[in-house]
Symmetry: C2
Subunit: 332 residues, 2 copies
C-alpha cells in the first residue's frame, strides 16, 4: 500500500490473501466459481495492496484488444461525431473502448503506415466503418476482425450494415414538395459515387417519376456549407421552385447563397434538407428536413458488431426516417 516501489501484481495479492494466483484471477473473471471465503480474502487483499489489474496481460492471453475501431471520413464533422457518441455508449456498456481513426488523415496505401496496418486482429476486436469510399479489399483479409458498415457503405465489404432509409427519406422529402404543388424540383446531391447520394437520388427519382417528372437538374455538391453556397448560381440558372438537398449543411449553405443573390426562402424557392442537424432549426429560415437518428444509428452499429463477434450472422438493418416540418417550404 505505502510502498512506492513497484505496482502490486496478481502474485502479491495471492500471497497476501493466502490463495493461488489462479484463484485471484478467477475472482476477477469468474467470481461465481470461487468460494465465499476466498473471495472475501482476495477482495480484502486487493484493497490492502491497492492492486489494479493490468489489462495488457489479460489481453495478450485472451488474444483480444478490448477496443473497437471506428473509421471516420472526417472527425471534425458533427454529423459523424454524433454517430460516434452512439457507438461509444453501447461499447462502453460492453466493456470495450472506442478507437477513432480519421481516414482522411491516413495515407491509404502506404504499406507501413497506411490503413492496412490497423486492420489486424491485434489492433482492434472489431471495426465500424463510416466511410464508404474505402477499398473493400482492405477488409477481406482473414486477419481482419469483424466489420460493420454504418451510414455510408460500399459493396464487397463483408459483414453487417446499418443505414438510414435514405431512398425513403428522399422520396418523402420530394413527395412533400410535390404535395405543395412544386413541379420544377432540383436535386442538390452529394458526390456522385457516394452511396448516400446514390440511394437518395433513387428516392428522388421514384417520387418524381410517379408523376411523370424528372429533376430540372442535379448538381453535385460535397456535403459542405461552402459547396451549398457555391451551388447557388447554378441553382438560380435552372430556375426551380424547390430544391431537395442531400444534407442540411448544403441546404443552409444554399440558403445563404440564395439570400445573397436576393432570393427569398421559401417565397422564391422552397428548400428541404436531410439529416436534421441541430442547426437546422436555427437556420435563417428554419429548415424542413428528413430526420435521421444518428445516435441510434451508432448504437445499432455497435450492437451488430457485438453480435457478429459472438458468432451471429451479419445482417443489414435499415432505420426509419421521418419528415421534420419547418418553414423552408411553401405551397405554390
Amino acid at each position: 500500500m505505502s510502498s512506492p516501489s513497484r505496482p502490486p501484481k496478481i502474485h502479491d495479492v495471492a500471497k497476501r490473501a493466502g490463495v493461488s494466483v489462479a484463484t485471484v484471477s478467477r475472482v476477477f473473471s469468474n467470481p461465481d466459481i470461487v468460494s465465499e471465503k476466498s473471495r472475501k480474502a482476495v477482495e480484502k487483499a486487493v484493497v490492502e495492496t491497492g492492486y489494479t489489474l493490468n489489462v495488457l496481460g489479460r489481453n495478450l492471453r485472451q488474444s483480444q484488444v478490448g477496443a473497437v475501431l471506428a473509421l471516420v471520413p472526417n472527425l471534425a464533422n458533427p454529423f459523424f461525431s454524433e454517430i460516434l457518441a452512439g457507438i461509444s455508449e453501447v461499447l462502453r456498456d460492453a466493456g470495450l473502448n472506442l478507437l477513432v481513426l480519421d481516414t482522411r488523415q491516413v495515407d491509404r496505401d502506404s504499406p507501413t503506415h497506411g490503413l492496412r496496418n490497423y486492420l489486424n486482429r491485434s489492433h482492434a476486436d472489431g471495426i465500424i466503418v463510416l466511410d464508404g469510399s474505402l477499398d473493400p479489399e482492405l477488409f477481406r483479409s482473414p486477419a481482419c476482425p469483424p466489420v460493420v458498415q454504418a451510414c455510408e457503405w460500399s459493396e464487397g465489404v463483408p459483414g453487417a450494415k446499418v443505414l438510414a432509409d435514405n431512398a425513403e427519406g428522399a422520396r418523402l422529402a420530394v413527395q412533400h414538395l410535390l404535395d405543395h404543388g412544386h413541379r420544377r424540383i432540383l436535386h442538390l446531391a452529394g458526390p456522385r459515387q457516394n452511396s448516400l447520394s446514390v440511394s437518395r437520388a433513387e428516392g428522388v427519382g421514384a417520387a418524381l417519376s410517379a408523376k411523370g417528372l424528372a429533376p430540372v437538374a442535379t448538381i453535385e455538391g460535397a456535403f459542405t456549407l461552402r459547396s451549398g453556397r457555391e451551388a447557388a448560381a447554378e441553382v438560380i440558372e435552372a430556375a426551380p421552385t424547390a430544391v431537395f438537398c442531400d444534407n442540411d449543411e448544403m441546404a443552409i449553405g444554399l440558403m445563404a447563397g440564395l439570400t445573397e443573390a436576393g432570393l427569398q426562402v421559401p417565397e422564391d424557392i422552397s428548400l428541404v434538407g436531410f439529416d436534421n442537424i441541430e442547426m437546422a432549426a436555427y437556420a435563417p429560415v428554419p429548415l424542413t428536413t428528413v430526420r435521421q437518428r444518428r445516435a441510434v444509428l451508432g448504437q445499432e452499429a455497435a450492437r451488430l458488431l457485438l453480435s457478429q463477434r459472438d458468432g451471429e450472422q451479419p445482417e443489414t438493418r435499415v432505420l426509419p426516417v421521418e419528415l421534420c416540418l419547418r418553414r423552408s417550404v411553401r405551397a405554390i
Copy 2:
C-alpha cells in the same frame, strides 16, 4: 502463406529466414543494428509467410498501450470533435492510437465501471482531458499516466495545459463593442463554475472596467443553441444594446430568440460570439466572433503530452485568438 491453419508467429519467420527470433524482432524495432543480409532475408520471409506483428505481445513486454485517451464532455458536440481531429493527427504521426471516452456517458464514481478504471497505465499511455468538471483527485494516483488538459481545465490536475487566450478574446470582443459606441453590454455566459466562463468573464470585466463600466447583466447559459434561445426573454428585459456570448452556439440561439421576439440583429441588438464555428458565417446574420483555432489546440495538446511522456516538464501554453468581423455588430 497458403496454410489457413494459424497466423504465422515471429518464430515461423525466424525459421524461414534462417535467423533467430531476436533478429526478426530487431528488424521491426531497430533495423539499423541488423546486417543488410539478415534484414533482406527477414523481409523476404515476412512477405512469404504473410506475417503481421501482434501488437499485444509487444505492448505487454514494453508495458505500453500504444494509445492515448481523450476525455470529452460531449462527443456529439462539434466543438470538441474538431479538437479531437487535431489530437488524432499528431498522435497518428507518433504511431499512437486515439481512444475516446464521453465523460457524460460514464458513471463518474462507480468503483467498478467508473472513470477511475480507465485512468490506469495499462489502459492508456497518456490522457488528454477536455472536460474541466472532473475531480482532479482522479489524476493524482501514481498509477495515472501523463495528463494534459486542453481547452477547459481545473486546478489541481497535474501536468501540462493548453488553452486559448480566453480572457483576451473576451476583452477583444467587448472592446470591439465599446469601440462601436456600445455602453449597455450584456454577458451571456457559460455555466458559472466552468473555467472558460470564468476567464471570459475576466476579459469582459477588464474591458468594461477600463471605461468605468460593468455588464448590464450576466446570464448563465449552457453553451447550447437552446439555452441561447431561452435567454432571449431575459436579455430583452435587461435592454442592452449589445450582447457578448461565451460561445457561438448560444449567440445563434439568442439570435433566433430575438428574431422571434421581433427584434433585429444588429439594428436593435448587436451580438458577438466566441469560437468561430463554421456555422457562424451562415447564421441568419453572419456572426462577429472570436476565432479560436481548435485543430491547433488539439495538436498542441497531443504534442505536449508526447513531450511530457518523454520526461519533459509540463508547461502551460496559451494560444492566441483573433476577432473575426462579420455583420452582427453595428455602431450606435
